[in-house]
Point group: D2
Chain length 374, copies 4
């Protein structure tokens, strides 16, 4: 389905970096969800470049909701959000020399030379603003059901943040704190080291990658499908659609390879009436279906490909090798700005999975449906 | 779409571990593909337990093609493969105590108690035989287009295999050799150590996990979509549908976090007329679209959850904690048997992506379409 | 999606007239639905040729449920039904001369000569047995929610049956009576005339068409979508997938062209607390969404294309005109046998629409969900 | 998929009658298609009310392409067209009394009272402007491949237009002439009578329905699928998504019921090298697949529900019966304005079916692909 994703709640994205506007259409929404434009603006501001460590391109993100909202609430019909592009400097972009680690060459072959190459066109990270705006529609609905999504930069430029707490009460506080942070880390001390290293890279006209870790709290057990629509499948599908992502793992992920089964297995126990696991190595998902524990996953983010250094490349117009020095405005690390994108993608996937499992009213009624439904 | 996957070429799976049969329906196939039942049987035999390190459950996998093949070739209409279940011992399975790291509890909540719990029911790894059979239909077609898929156990039980060669000629030989191996590793010496460690785990009534690395050679550039149907998205979607998979990464994957952009970027150069990259840290995919280099990815496989040791759990019928000792027949490591499953999933995804990009005839005509299509 | 249909509850069909078996996979089913194999057999028997006016090919339709049912109830995982082909006489079929009004030529072009031409292959009406079997799984679930589907032959061979009653109580009795009839008409006297005319056509080695009218009683208001998934859209999509169908209309259908708005509009009134319409010219659907009145539609069925008379055609192997006299076993009228197919398709579409609107549990809980959901 | 339709080329629509804007997103487009904004404007003008027989609401339809076009050509990435709503008079609309034959009540139940009721909201015929704009993108591409789509008002207010010619050369001229007509009929004399009758109905504060007949010339044989994605299925799905449509028939349609098979069957013959049929009772489709003859179908359009006369209804806010007199601006007959909508829907479906059958490049290369592809 190319630029449309989801089963029951779907998102369709459109736009190019230097075209008139980007945006998205959310469909299958429950009618009656409150749409908080201030929250959307706040979430967009977390994604917006705002400091020395981000690109100097500043977009006001003056989004406009074109449809699907009436009297401040979703109508249940398609909700289109448009975000005009305002701060575009197309002159910075060349057509021909393929920027290394960018989509230029692949796009040129796929689109037969008709691609809008300015600023990466439809491949631009700019499009993620539309995804964040969509996340901003769904996140408050999830929160109102007791579902919270938070992410932190767990690894960046050689520094490692501490882990999420295993205590759900503390985890909730951590998530809420991260949602308010400009540079989302659990240890601000480590965060400062990361920022310093990012600034170092920027001074070297270079960039760094990182790992983002996400936790979802309060999501009900029993959601997802055994095979092709396992929660891991649909979450990874959504997460890998973000350009810079090169890895996704759930729970212990690649670390699982080092365990024996007797150590890795999450043993079941009772916490009052609730069935919990004593560890959460599976990241809250068994057999593709949520088990009621926090859903946890990590996302590997490659270093920003645009570095202002001479790089060898091939010009696909001339068919010859040449040296390229990328100009334009770029992020030395997108690991900070990608956090709200990951959270928004997660919100979209989880809302979709809930509606598939329990019907559209679940986004309003939450526990009243999923608990009595057994 | 739950048990159906794909855009142009789709697979629908069905079956339970202890029901009458499992199987799949492949749709959207190009008419005229030769169906090599011997090859399918051979691929199934690579997945079948066959040694000390696998489960003692032995299934002959006497698959039967019910439709979609006429005079030995695909008709273009749905191809249904049925594999009867023959060697079932349902008495080994209990209903109530949730097996740790299994789907039992999650399934019980999702399916409201109506799940077929015998041998994991629809969650059983048994279903992967249908996926392998489907892979066996598509793999020869890909091979005939010069596309080769191979995988090796890169990490298992503390041992690490050597990497795929960066030379494409050698890589082709490696893939062909792996496709013929019962225990697919590049270094047989390392493989023997892995086997010994798996046997050790089995003797301890325990299990081990591992990492499988896959390479695809000869896949054309320009296939995939920018966002939701990026090659990473659809490959990871398919790979995470396999029960034991907890991580997927492309190219350097999580290792990318340690690089600076200037080091990580794959520089373009010319190899004769062909544009190549001097490294392949992105795993052959830029911006979600193939760039013509080998597509490489790794899959994290958790240790088999079924270990014949006492484990604490909760019985969801009684609502009480209890100790569980799993009986039945299990694999101390599924990392060997999962290789043809990963390769088959990959074949299905790549065939689908090719048909989406170039139309159904591409599976017959290959280069004649994708090269002249520009 | 070619051979898969539906949004939440989906059906995938496979098989050829003269292959080993036909069948279908139902996915997205609510767990816990009772599966009544006797009812399925009875519904299949209504589709089976059984009299002078049907084809002499007799298939026992010994269907087998391969998956998705456990202890007599749906598990919620894919339910595969296989029906072996037993009574095949492939020798009757020629390859080359395109049978008029059949798919032979179109299929030959589409499938590049690789089609299974025997008995129409995948195009055969034989495949509808799988659809009826699927309907047989869902119909009892709908009935238990108070939803009833009935159809009668309203026009055949120049004879016109009387209309369904506008009184819902009488309509229910009519539907129940039709469901038990071998030749479903409201007026048996008219039915006998139809049968006599069909027999006349058979004696002339000819065939006749007809119109089937269907009514759905008890379906809740508020189901369907405004545009692309209007109830008319998805029902017509399903109905036109049946080979012989050349027209679908809802309510007054084509007759609407003769009305003025003031006459055609269905006025709203109260029947106790319930909002009803005083007429039902819209066939229970406004703006693509059900309004709580009976859903009514008519289906035009063309005369069976296979007539045992000399017909002019072109042989696509030789590229020359020739005269063709079709042999084999054929129905002089499929209008009788198509009724359970239409009802089954309707049941599949309605079950799907209900689950999309209210979540999977609606197929068990019905009114308890759709009434309190407002 | 609710507001998204199509397999390979998809359209997503959004908007409400009185919201900020309506629009659509086209995805899966071949890169390099010329986008002719003047043609889009012309097609929109055919849909726009422009005479005594249409609603006095006049919208300039100043559409804006937000994405997917670069240097006047499609890029292959999503093409979003936005059309602002400018001439809105929301004060005319009441909430509570269900307008007969409108979606008000059904929508109120479906959307739980959160629907945007002004001017029918998302149900408004206004949305069809977005569909026509999408058609305006695809129609020139089809024309350049030799595929032409035309429709005429075959029945309106008791008057019947003459039929399309069976001669393909004449048919082409008829289609071209119809595409330029403000009131598309083959016999302008009959058209004047229709207009007079529509004006009569308008004077009576009433409305009329009609039948629109469409012909597609030049579409290749071998496109479509045997069952669920038969050409009839996907065309009717699209056509029934238009609010006022209550019937769709192909070829002879409901008239087929009156034929015997020996009369109805379209006999094959040779026209030079080309295999044709001597009649076209099947409307160019056999077994769901095109046979190379013109694709013909008729669409039944109900009388505009909004009539400015007192009508009995129920107010769903008070739960009481009341008399309603609809104000606002309405069409006495939408049969004229619906023609470009039907043609646009047809263009979208045919472009999608072509791409599914032959790959995206077919929209540029046409015969060069579909003729040599055998």
């Amino acid at each position: 389905m190319k630029n449309t994703f989801g089963s029951s709640v779907t998102i369709t994205i459109f736009g190019e970096s230097h075209g008139p506007a980007i945006g998205c259409v959310l469909d299958g929404l429950t009618p009656g969800l409150e749409v908080d434009e201030e929250f959307i603006a706040k979430l967009l501001s977390r994604r917006r470049p705002s400091s020395l460590i981000d690109t100097p391109r500043r977009e006001p993100d003056n989004f406009r909701i074109l449809s699907g909202v009436f009297n401040g609430k979703t109508t249940g019909t398609p909700l289109c959000i448009m975000i005009p592009n305002e701060n575009t400097k197309s002159g910075d972009y060349l057509f021909g020399p393929a920027r290394p680690s960018h989509a230029d060459l692949a796009a040129h072959i796929k689109y037969k030379g008709f691609e809008d190459y300015r600023g990466g066109g439809h491949f631009s990270g700019r499009i993620t603003a539309a995804i964040v705006a969509a996340g901003g529609v769904l996140m408050p609905a999830l929160n109102s059901l007791g579902i919270y999504i938070g992410s932190h930069i767990s690894v960046c430029a050689g520094h490692t943040d501490r882990d999420f707490s295993e205590d759900e009460g503390i985890l909730l506080e951590e998530i809420k704190a991260l949602n308010d942070k400009n540079f989302p880390v659990l240890s601000d001390e480590t965060g400062e080291k990361m920022i310093a290293s990012i600034e170092d890279a920027a001074k070297d006209h270079d960039s760094v990658g990182g790992i983002v870790k996400t936790a979802v709290l309060g999501f009900p057990a029993g959601v997802g499908e055994p095979w092709f629509d396992s929660m891991e499948s649909i979450l990874s599908h959504a997460l890998f659609s973000i350009g810079a992502v090169k890895g996704v793992e759930f729970g212990k992920g690649f670390g699982a390879a080092e365990y024996r089964g007797s150590e890795f297995n999450d043993l079941f126990s009772l916490d009052g009436d609730r069935i919990v696991t004593t560890t959460n190595n599976n990241g809250g998902i068994n057999g593709g279906i949520t088990n009621g524990m926090p859903v946890t996953f990590s996302v590997a983010v490659k270093p920003t490909p645009s570095v202002s250094r001479p790089q060898q490349t091939v010009n696909f117009l001339t068919g010859k090798e040449e040296e390229l020095e990328i100009r334009g405005r770029h992020d030395p690390a997108i690991v900070r700005r990608i956090c709200p994108v990951i959270e928004s993608m997660t919100a979209i996937v989880l809302a979709d999975a809930l509606v598939t499992a329990y019907g559209p009213q679940v986004l309003v009624k939450g526990k009243a449906i999923w608990n009595t439904d057994l």
